[in-house]
């Protein structure tokens, strides 16, 4: 690995200052499961890794709030998948977090890292989009909140400004009479990047909100009405062909996975009733 420096700030302010004074030459590191792989492959000309795991004002737990949950930026995917409140109220997010990599990866990888790396195939992105998550962002100039669908701007790019840091994610509890599920297609059961992923939230009335992964330059959100074929979701996606799947196959599978996800969401709605 090419040599780089390592900093371990104690506060968000300190981390943000380090990031701004080294713009383009520094990266935040939480679990490091993407960053260290990229460094090893020589994809980064990074001079400074800013380890934010000891930043005292960043949480690593899911906190219950009035009307929803707040997920600390440093929450590990393994803990997110196992969290009781998340499993009960946001099952698509629990399923998605549990589908990333392996135990070893999920024991290090964090929710903020998963979204900030901004892979079009990020597994937690579809459920966060479907549930309408809000991203709480810290900056030296002040804090702001951005909706999940405005967060991803291009492959590997987010709406974060220089020096900004994701602090937490807020999810409102879905209304009663809703169900949700996550579906993922990969070439093997573990340790594979999704070829296509779909999360959906279905209302009793038939309204559906879906999030898609790996079928466009960013994760994609769609809203509509439940139909038998769900073929309308094809209009929202812009898949490409790569080593994991071809464009036509992805287009067909996003429809099939949407159907499955809606069906499982419906079933879950029944269980609650």
């Amino acid at each position: 690995m090419r040599p780089f420096n390592y900093a371990r700030p104690q506060s968000l302010r300190e981390a943000s200052q380090l990031l701004s004074t080294h713009t383009g030459r520094a990266a935040l590191m939480a679990g490091g499961t993407d960053l260290i792989v990229q460094m090893g492959r020589g994809l980064h000309s990074l001079e400074l890794a800013i380890d934010i795991k000891r930043v005292s004002d960043l949480g690593d737990q899911v906190e219950k709030m009035p009307g929803g949950v707040r997920i600390g930026a440093l929450t590990r995917l393994e803990d997110l998948a196992a969290n009781e409140v998340v499993r009960a109220s946001f099952p698509a997010l629990s399923e998605a977090a549990g589908s990333v990599g392996s135990v070893q990866i999920r024991s290090r990888a964090t929710i903020a890292g998963n979204i900030c790396n901004a892979s079009p195939a990020a597994d937690t992105a579809p459920p966060l989009l479907a549930y309408g998550a809000q991203v709480n962002i810290f900056g030296i100039a002040g804090r702001r909140t951005l909706s999940m669908e405005r967060f991803f701007t291009a492959p590997g790019k987010t709406a974060l400004l220089p020096g900004e840091i994701v602090e937490s994610l807020d999810l409102a509890f879905p209304k009663e009479g809703t169900g949700s599920a996550f579906e993922r297609l990969a070439r093997r059961a573990g340790m594979d990047v999704a070829s296509v992923s779909v999360a959906c939230l279905v209302w009793h009335s038939g309204s559906v909100r879906l999030g898609f992964g790996a079928v466009g330059p960013t994760p994609i959100v769609a809203e509509g009405e439940e139909t038998d074929s769900m073929d309308w979701v094809g209009e929202y996606v812009k898949p490409v062909s790569d080593i994991r799947a071809g464009e036509d196959y992805r287009r067909a599978m996003v429809v099939a996975l949407s159907r499955r996800a809606v069906k499982r969401s419906r079933k879950r709605m029944g269980e609650d009733a």
């Binding site: 040599p3 420096n5 390592y6 490091g32 795991k53 392996s102 135990v103 070893q104 990866i105 024991s107």
Partner: protein, 175 residues
């Protein structure tokens, strides 16, 4: 860029406390193998795909190739060398031998550390849970069947955790 300064860390490894000066970009794997000569932890892919470098840090199985030594400051690290005590193998190590779960042996330390982390959290896992826990560990020789059996056997040790509900009928066929 200035040459990165070394970082002083304190880390507990297999119960012993160490103060080490490490490079900022040095992985925990490299530190274990090259500074402490704990060569039981293997490097294979170096990208978190194969699990050969798995060690337990603060109770969790992790890929030591994807963790910087500096990040381990203040942590407790358990490697394959830390399992045996008083000249006695850990029951899990013995189970791997007895089940014939080792062929070339390169993946074995990582397999055992992943399985150990599972048994520390869940002393009586099902076959499905064992497979889930080991899905980040690749083995090119054994076909996994005997590895899964070894973990089940370790969980069934006399005086150990109670028997799991499923004893893995799907593993009746052996390679």
């Amino acid at each position: 860029m200035d040459a990165p300064a070394e970082i002083l860390i304190k880390v507990t490894i297999n119960g012993g406390q160490h103060r080490l000066s490490v490079s900022p970009h040095e992985t925990l794997l490299k530190m274990l193998r090259e500074r402490l000569l704990l060569a039981g932890t293997k490097e294979s892919c170096g990208e978190g795909e194969c699990g050969a470098c798995t060690v337990i840090v603060d109770g969790r199985a992790i890929n030591s190739c994807l963790m910087l030594a500096a990040e381990a400051d203040g942590s407790e690290v358990l490697t394959i060398e830390g399992l045996a005590s008083g000249g006695e193998l850990d029951p899990l190590q013995q189970a791997f031998i007895d089940a014939g779960a080792v062929q070339c042996g390169f993946c074995t330390p990582g397999m055992i550390m992943s399985a150990k982390a599972l048994l520390m959290r869940n002393p009586h896992p099902t076959v499905a849970q064992i497979k889930q826990a080991l899905c980040g560990n690749l083995c090119r020789c054994t076909g996994y069947t005997r590895i899964i059996r070894a973990v089940l056997d370790a969980a069934l040790q006399p005086g150990g955790p109670r028997a799991p509900q499923d004893t893995g009928e799907e593993h009746a066929e052996d390679n």
